[in-house]
């Protein structure tokens, strides 16, 4: 017991220090947590100056805590998913979101085909490069003050669109990965997954009143335990029936999003999400063998350059959909460049699948997220130089 406690202590301390360091240099904490996991984990580097760096193993506790990290990341995505906002602004959100999906998911498919990957690997790579990081994007546009500017609208609108796509996508991919090899079996699994999720979604939509009353609890402690219990139980039941636990958690979140409990959840449950999410990113680092990255270096390099470009273009078009100036449209593109947590959630699915899929996709994703979360943040910080040089070009192309 003492050894396990020390190990978890080392893990949490490493995460805390990494987060502090990232904060100091103004970068996202997510890549820092991953690097912390790589450093103290079982893979390279294993020692420094004769001192062992294999301090934390990927044990069951960390694995389950990381799983809870996924569940609560998606739970909050569902909680903060605003149906009202989507409906009120559906035309522009659909336009900007579709362009974003076509260009970036399309770029992922092109990469898979270009590098001779299997259809399933290609599908996963496309998902990884498509979805922007809500966490990194939101934090960056607040730090930069863009949140108070008109460009916040297409940025947040596109994120809302991505939320829906990712819910459907995860449900689909999870079913495909766990499913039987043949097409009929896969179709059955997908059908079953959507039936389960459909049931959760219906309860979420029509059960708002019930949820509101059931969680009207007198103190925060009881409230926290109820929310954690309900969410984890539904997610666990989903996983047990071969359905994406992440998407189930997403729908549990949406069930709460229509109730007055949202503020209290943000207050009381968010710290729990932060803890488990940090462990999730750290665990990704633990399981990452950096030396495998060499095998996907070419794919990685091309993906970073290509999908930075496609996000810039799709975001700029999204900004134009909102009638923004060239500079603000470019900022929309720059703002959406960071990829992080949801790409890693997708990679975790692949890691659980086994085979070559479990080697290539997670390694690629870790390298990709490390690059894109840092590159995206830095691009947002130095956006003025980019927009100054690119704005005339955008004005030319769009004929302003």
């Amino acid at each position: 017991m003492a050894a396990s406690l020390v190990e978890i202590g080392i893990a949490l301390a490493a995460v805390a220090l990494a987060g502090l360091a990232a904060n100091r240099v103004g970068l996202s904490v997510i890549p820092a947590y991953i690097v912390a996991g790589i450093l103290v984990g079982p893979e390279w580097p294993t020692e420094v100056l004769g001192v062992s760096l294999q301090l934390v193993a990927y044990g069951e506790f960390i694995a389950v805590a990381a799983e809870l990290g996924i569940v609560f990341l998606l739970f909050f995505l569902g909680l903060e998913f605003s149906v009202g906002q989507l409906l009120a602004d559906r035309k522009r959100i659909t336009k900007a979101g579709s362009v974003d999906f076509l260009l970036n998911f399309g770029a992922g498919v092109a990469l898979g085909v270009l590098f001779g990957r299997t259809p399933l690997e290609t599908l996963l790579i496309a998902g990884v490069v498509y979805i922007s990081s809500s966490a990194v994007v939101t934090k960056s546009i607040i730090d930069r003050g863009w949140v108070a500017n008109p460009e916040a609208e297409p940025i947040l609108g596109t994120l809302v669109f991505e939320d829906i796509v990712i819910a459907v996508y995860l449900a689909l991919v999870a079913a495909l990965l766990t499913g039987a090899g043949d097409l009929a079996g896969a179709a059955m699994d997908v059908a079953r997954a959507f039936a389960f999720l459909g049931a959760v979604a219906v309860v979420a939509w029509y059960g708002t009143d019930y949820v509101e009353r059931a969680f009207d609890l007198p103190n925060d402690e009881l409230f926290l335990l109820h929310v954690l219990g309900a969410t984890t139980l539904v997610a666990g039941a989903a996983l047990a029936t071969g359905v994406s636990e992440a998407v189930a958690a997403f729908f549990v979140g949406t069930a709460f999003s229509q109730t007055p409990h949202t503020e209290r959840i943000e207050d009381v449950v968010a710290p729990v999400r932060d803890l488990f999410a940090a462990v999730f990113f750290f665990a990704i680092g633990l399981t990452t063998d950096v030396t495998v990255l060499a095998g996907v270096a070419a794919l990685l390099a091309v993906a970073v350059v290509l999908t930075t470009g496609t996000k810039l273009v799709s975001g700029t078009i999204g900004g134009r959909v909102y009638d923004l100036s060239p500079t603000r449209s470019l900022r929309t593109g720059i703002g959406l460049v960071p990829r992080a947590e949801f790409s890693l959630v997708i990679a975790t699915l692949a890691a659980g699948a086994g085979g070559t899929l479990a080697d290539v996709v997670p390694a690629f994703t870790v390298g990709y997220v490390l690059a894109m979360s840092v590159l995206g943040t830095v691009m947002i910080q130095h956006a003025d130089r980019l927009t100054d040089s690119l704005a005339p070009l955008v004005a030319d192309v769009t004929g302003e």
């Binding site: 903060e80 009202g84 009120a88 949140v147 108070a148 916040a152 947040l156």
Partner: protein, 192 residues
């Protein structure tokens, strides 16, 4: 995005409740729509944009943890500049100040002067003034100028409500009640 239009009164300073309205500037009660735009910012909280004058907007971000960031955007093409950031408690205090609940200013024109036309003034007695050495009764200040002497300040000492036999000396400060004209007559009498 939700757009809330508050049909109400133009908010031109507080004090609308103070006394009669006749002397307040025209247009204060002109109806005007204050448009507030509300947007959810997922994971952060809510964003409110208030139209101020013309294209200028105030942007308030209310975080889930209660923190408020206030930005100002001078015109649609400009970037929003952050003006300040407040905790929930500070924001409520500022809010009540802005609302006028914390301190209700009284327009100066509206101050009801309890003394009618009269004001209180302080006048120093010059060395060569003809009244030096005389008592208040002797120099007959009341009938010569119209003011009433309420007190005499002599150095550190104050003689309140001086009687008719109180004498006036060089350097005394007379605290007197009267109209402006009466006070200018007093000044002619006691200053050099």
């Amino acid at each position: 995005m939700r757009r809330v239009v508050i049909r109400g009164l133009k908010l031109a300073g507080a004090g609308g409740t103070a006394g009669g309205t006749s002397s307040l500037n025209n247009g204060r009660y002109e109806p005007r729509n204050v448009t507030i735009y509300e947007t959810e910012v997922p994971g952060v909280g809510h964003k409110f944009e208030l139209e101020i004058d013309g294209d200028e907007r105030l942007v308030v971000i209310i975080h889930h943890d209660g923190k408020r960031d206030v930005y100002r955007r001078p015109d649609p093409d400009a970037d929003s500049e952050q003006l300040f950031s407040l905790t929930g408690k500070q924001a409520r205090q500022l809010g009540s100040i802005l609302e006028g609940a914390y301190f209700q200013p009284v327009e100066l024109d509206e101050v009801e002067v309890p003394l009618g036309e009269a004001i209180i003034e302080w006048t120093e007695v010059g060395a060569d003034a003809p009244v030096v050495g005389q008592s208040i009764a002797d120099c007959d200040i009341r009938s010569r100028t119209g003011v009433s002497v309420m007190a005499i300040q002599r150095g550190e000492e104050t003689i309140p409500n001086p009687g008719p036999d109180a004498t006036i000396e060089t350097g005394d400060v007379l605290v007197t009640l009267g109209s402006r004209e009466e006070h200018s007559a007093l000044s002619d009498l006691v200053e050099d």
